[in-house]
Symmetry: C2
Subunit: 418 residues, 2 copies
Amino acid sequence: MAQLSTSTQSGGTRTEHLATWAANLKFTDLPEDVVQKTKDFFVDWLGCAIAGRHHPAVSAIAKFASHMGPSSGKSELVDGSLKFTTSPAFASLVNGASSHVVEQDDLHNRSIMHPRFHSTATGGVIGVAAATAHLLKLDAAQTLSAIGTAGTQAAGLWQFLMDATHSKQVHTGKACFDGIFAAYTARDGLLGTKDILEGPRAMGVALVPGTTNPEAIDQKLGTDYEVLRSSFKWHASCRHTHPSADALLKLIKKNDVAFENIESVISRTYQAAINVLGMTGRGETVHQSKFSMGFVLAVIAKKGQAMITDFTEDDLEDSELREFQQRVKMELDPEIDRVFPEKWQGTVIVTTKAGKTFTESVEFAKGDPELPLTRDEIERKAHTLAAYGGFTDTGKVNQLIDRAWNLENQKNLNGFVF
Amino acid sequence: MAQLSTSTQSGGTRTEHLATWAANLKFTDLPEDVVQKTKDFFVDWLGCAIAGRHHPAVSAIAKFASHMGPSSGKSELVDGSLKFTTSPAFASLVNGASSHVVEQDDLHNRSIMHPRFHSTATGGVIGVAAATAHLLKLDAAQTLSAIGTAGTQAAGLWQFLMDATHSKQVHTGKACFDGIFAAYTARDGLLGTKDILEGPRAMGVALVPGTTNPEAIDQKLGTDYEVLRSSFKWHASCRHTHPSADALLKLIKKNDVAFENIESVISRTYQAAINVLGMTGRGETVHQSKFSMGFVLAVIAKKGQAMITDFTEDDLEDSELREFQQRVKMELDPEIDRVFPEKWQGTVIVTTKAGKTFTESVEFAKGDPELPLTRDEIERKAHTLAAYGGFTDTGKVNQLIDRAWNLENQKNLNGFVF
């Protein structure tokens, strides 16, 4: 098979190098900023998981766990209706789904790719498999099998954006379940393919044809931690709306422009934003409305923020927001597009009813690696999300946050989601 | 979203028509030949499931079921090592994996597509969801959700062919599990996308770009049953080797050519066969050897058959087979390629050591809809497979087969796999 594999000069495939590195990684190898940033994202994730716990998709998945899984187990579900413990795979299924409901979880800026597949799921299942393999103390060969079995399960289509379904939560929940499946079965002898990332019939070719960069698999292992290039979402809308939202906030503040005096807004952005945001049309549901540039900028202009509590059924019926939405246009900006996704820039051009025109740009969105949230802001966001999820015991939320800031010294995660 | 959906003249998407039809289908609507053919394939499947039950991939997946699933349940596992009952989702995971181990399960001839994704898995998850939805008595809207949630989980890459891994069994097992997940969650309120087959970001576009035929989704519902166009596998090798294998058997018999007198074989075939069979190289493992045209034709020429017991570790070491394998070449035959996959034709050209040349062709492979196995042959095959799986109680196998021939009158399937 030498002619068909993609082995490198130092022997083995790139994916083998990655698996070997992952299997041998020790906590003490991790730079301090990587550890701290990971905890930032864990606290952020925790708030997101609590925020989504009453969603019908989460309830339905929790019912599946109760029908098909064990009647009790060592793992806890964040789900807000059924109170039971379960096995790790089912807990990950439910909790992974719940954390993606409110669209407030983190993202890795440069991983935004051609919208053929939902990369949170297709990349996520690899990450879950590698992490679980590490927890199970798998060796390099087993870890490689886990990654291979994970990758061949990679799935998640964008079609759901068009009719407001619950598939996005299925994608993240199943990525967790499937990655755990991959690691456990690898431990127990199931062999995965060795070249699932860049092989000739593997993920790169099938899921993102023509756009992969194989060197990224193994060229900077242990020196370059991508978690440091990940972003928080400050606004509760699709991340592609954030640069324009930040630019509009800046413009309104600088020029003291009132919502009711704005005649039109042009959002100059990159092509990927136009592709994704163009799929949801007017935004008939709360979820879809967060994918409408017009609606999001209307919320920003009217409320001065776009937090999770700013997207409600009432807001969908708000004729002022709906009229403003019609007066927002997206335009491709070639220069912004050229540097995306290295930089998530945004420019807005506002014309007032009095005929004045203002232009404002941001080089980064709030929450980007270059403009990260402070720990105070992270905590504030987590409290808002927990309250949104009906978790009203502020003291308990503070306890969870305190435990999370000290995550590396926790003996276990019991009590983290109840 | 009207501009982005693919609604038809009669309203609703094609997938909605399909889901509505599936939800309303009654057993008594099914033509008798469809019922009988389905039972043929069930008996055939049963033998396959038993044959694979000691495979390491099946054992690893059964261990996952025991770790993550309930300690007992109403469903039985075919697995040969762990003896326990479980929930339907985990039973389907294990049994679905086991039935695909020995490569003897049925296929739908015309569904052989571009080898980007493993269609047994990507189509299979849709079928499992629809079937489970029917058993759960879901209505049309819920069935549509089940199909949507199934499709967004569709996965299965061909990369595994290149290093002989266990992913193929993961694909079928997970298709079962994921389809059941889709139907149960649809029942409990999880919404799936409505246009997962032909929508602009759906399965057709993402998994088989440029090659879909949307009319096939809903144009012949209730009048055209594709099970009647499905085939049995008689030989134990990849189905793409069968037309050539049958042609070689016919040639050898007609011309009385002995294995040791054959100098070379040219297998004239269609492009898809060359694509798939070209991926496994020499065939280093028993599994890969079944995907080598050269090795399979060597087995046929030497043994006069290519049953499951004809592909062993000893056969891999057989220097006669290995030498013969080198003397087989595949060639693209444009006429054969033109009619594939409507017809799975094969032509072989044999040159003897004495310099004689013989040519033989088959229009169909044994087991094709036009050349189906008889029930006697199906039973013979099932007994061979069961014995291969270490299930040596012939009387018990006969009991299972008798129950299967009377499947529509079984109150349940208890005792079917133990």
